[in-house]
């Protein structure tokens, strides 16, 4: 998983360099940087503006906000906000099954859940925060999200019920299928 794009920066710089040369023909004597400024288009983003827009959470936990929750606290959040679509225990549906499915990935009917398939626990925060609940996205508080993430991890037997999930603990959770992914090796069929 560490092999992604390690050779890219050089190629990237080369590309920018070529573009700069191409632009240089149009605007002689300007460096790439000055060219860019030369368009004079776009407004400088303030730190405050970036903070408001910057909602993603990376796999290392960058972007996780203050707040915390436990599986116990998450029980009620899940029942109220999630169970209608995912079932009382996260297994019944009708929408995506969230719990269980361990040791099914090699069978004819694999069950891909948070516990059996998702490689990073941080993705739970990123996704729930931006997209759930489906009928009212971005309506949960950080404490509610941490709590429901803890409940999902507990139900999948990844953490104990009393573990506090927050910006420090979430990125350290080792997901069962963390090493289940391989970078695109195609073409693989001939």
């Amino acid at each position: 998983m560490d092999g992604y794009g390690t050779s890219m920066p050089k190629r990237f710089l080369l590309c920018v360099g070529i573009s700069a040369i191409a632009l240089g023909c149009v605007l002689p004597g300007w460096s790439a940087d000055e060219n860019a400024a030369g368009y004079g288009i776009g407004k400088a983003a303030t730190d405050e503006e970036i903070r408001a827009w910057n909602i993603d959470v990376s796999s290392t936990g960058e972007g996780l906000p203050p707040g915390q929750g436990t599986a116990k606290q998450g029980t009620q959040v899940f029942a109220e906000k999630c169970a209608a679509c995912h079932g009382p225990t996260g297994t019944e549906g009708p929408k995506d099954r969230l719990v269980g499915g361990r040791n099914t990935l090699t069978t004819q009917k694999p069950i891909r859940t948070i516990g059996s398939y998702w490689p990073y626990a941080t993705t739970l925060y990123d996704y729930i925060n931006r997209a759930m609940p489906f009928y009212a996205p971005q309506s949960l508080s950080p404490d509610e999200i941490y709590s429901v993430v803890a409940w999902l991890l507990f139900q999948n037997q990844i953490i104990a019920q009393d573990i506090v999930i927050d910006a420090q603990t979430l990125p350290k959770i080792q997901m069962p299928n963390r090493d289940g992914f391989i970078p695109d090796p195609r073409p693989d069929v001939q």
Binding site: G42, I50, W118
Partner: protein
């Protein structure tokens, strides 16, 4: 020679004037209204004035092609229950000509509906590992040098039913999650030069402003830097709302999902962000329980669109017609078999043949009324050949969901009925 038509025109004019006079000034609009309705067919269109110009055109009322609603692998297609479960719609490729998909028939896939966005309020933020984080309006982006490109867009879930037992369905059911448009916008590289990308930036998060906040990590490879576009135009007009109005990312040849619609933010980083759509979804589970990740390129694929699933044909001459495409470049060869792959003939490639674009192919054929199995296979400019289903399944198993690109087989039964089969 000139008297007769003039006489007809004069009589029509008088008749029309008379009706205006008879009904008075308040009904002055009546003849115009009648003319506009005259798309109703007449027995002899040469003897009735045609309809007047109108602000925004529509197709002939005789043309009924529609997108086909869908709810995911294995779910029945159709518009019967248009609920949040109906999360995609497929292009009627069996009815289209040439390579360009009319914007109104472009396939749809969205993850919590189509947002309603006022372009004057929409902004694109570019930040992260950059020297100058900037916010752009749509109008500002349209002032930058623009590029246009005709290219296909295919959902990596297109033909997902190919991983299951063969169903008796249409080519629209199986292959409808793909379309081709002329896309217009500004090159990603132009914007990256403007913000000044730092050398440690190797990945970029793209985020939409829909109710799913769909986010994907894009590797900053040479191909991406050369070809990626931030689009505002589709087939000469603004993007359709279903296609990301007012802004979308377009990565020629890459799976549909990463071409983030309603684009609001690009964040440069030094590693993939591992979003839900590139981990839990859009990864391909293999027989050994491992899964491919970041399988972004759509590999070469082709399909015969006529004759195709559930159609009925008569003995005689038919031009076999279809589409071939590759996310790695141009299609260089398409071959057609009418005997289930025992013998192959080269098909004619119809110009234009563009890289990372649908290419129309054709082969005239006489059907003799006996059972036939029609197949097409293509090769792209990298030398990659579209695989048989058997070869594909041997490597990937049947749990992949995404990126099914095997040779398609249509069986023509002796009564002329056509069925989707695996041969």
């Amino acid at each position: 020679m000139h008297d007769a038509p003039n006489e007809i025109d004069r009589r029509r004019f008088l008749k029309r004037s008379a009706s205006v006079i008879a009904f008075g000034a308040t009904t002055f609009a009546l003849p115009v209204a009648k003319a506009q309705e005259s798309s109703t067919p007449s027995d002899d269109p040469m003897r009735v004035p045609g309809s007047l110009p109108r602000p925004y055109g529509e197709r002939s009322p005789f043309e009924k092609q529609q997108r086909l609603g869908g709810a995911g692998p294995g779910a029945p297609h159709g518009w019967g229950t248009n609920t949040p479960n109906n999360f995609n719609s497929g292009t009627p490729i069996q009815d289209l000509h040439g390579i360009v998909t009319p914007s109104a028939l472009h396939f749809e896939r969205h993850h919590n509906g189509v947002p309603a966005i006022d372009p004057d309020h929409h902004r694109l933020l570019i930040h992260g590992l950059v020297n100058r984080p900037l916010i752009f309006t749509v109008k500002e982006l349209q002032r930058l040098p623009s590029v246009s490109r005709i290219a296909f867009l295919e959902c990596s879930g297109n033909t997902w039913d190919g991983w299951r037992d063969a169903q008796d369905v249409t080519v629209q059911d199986l292959y409808g999650l793909m379309s081709t448009s002329e896309w217009t916008g500004v090159k990603l590289s132009t914007l990256l030069e403007t913000v000044g990308v730092r050398r440690e930036a190797t990945w970029m998060l793209a985020e939409g402003s829909d109710a799913a906040g769909l986010d994907r990590s894009v590797p900053l490879t040479e191909d991406v830097l050369n070809e990626a576009m931030i689009c505002y135009g589709q087939n000469g007009e603004a993007l359709r709302p279903e296609q990301g109005y007012p802004l979308r990312l377009f990565l020629p040849g890459f799976e549909g999902n990463i071409n983030v619609k309603w684009l609001r933010r690009l964040k440069l980083g030094s590693a993939p962000f591992m979003t839900r759509w590139e981990t839990a979804k859009y990864t391909e589970l293999l027989p050994d329980g491992k899964a491919y990740q970041f399988t972004l390129v759509m590999e070469a694929k082709s399909v015969i669109t006529y004759p195709s699933g559930q159609q009925q044909i008569q003995p005689g001459v038919h031009e076999i017609s279809g589409l071939a495409w590759s996310g790695r470049g141009r299609v260089t060869k398409v071959e057609v078999s009418v005997d289930g792959g025992r013998t192959w003939q080269g098909a004619r490639l119809q110009e234009p043949v563009l890289p990372k674009c649908h290419t129309r192919f054709g082969l005239p054929w006489r059907w003799n009324g006996q059972e036939a199995i029609l197949q097409s296979r293509c090769v792209d400019e990298t030398g990659y050949s579209q695989p048989t289903r058997q070869d594909l399944v041997k490597v990937r198993g049947t749990n992949s969901v995404y990126h099914y690109n095997a040779i398609q087989s249509w069986r023509i039964e002796p009564n002329g009925r056509i069925r989707n089969i695996y041969a």
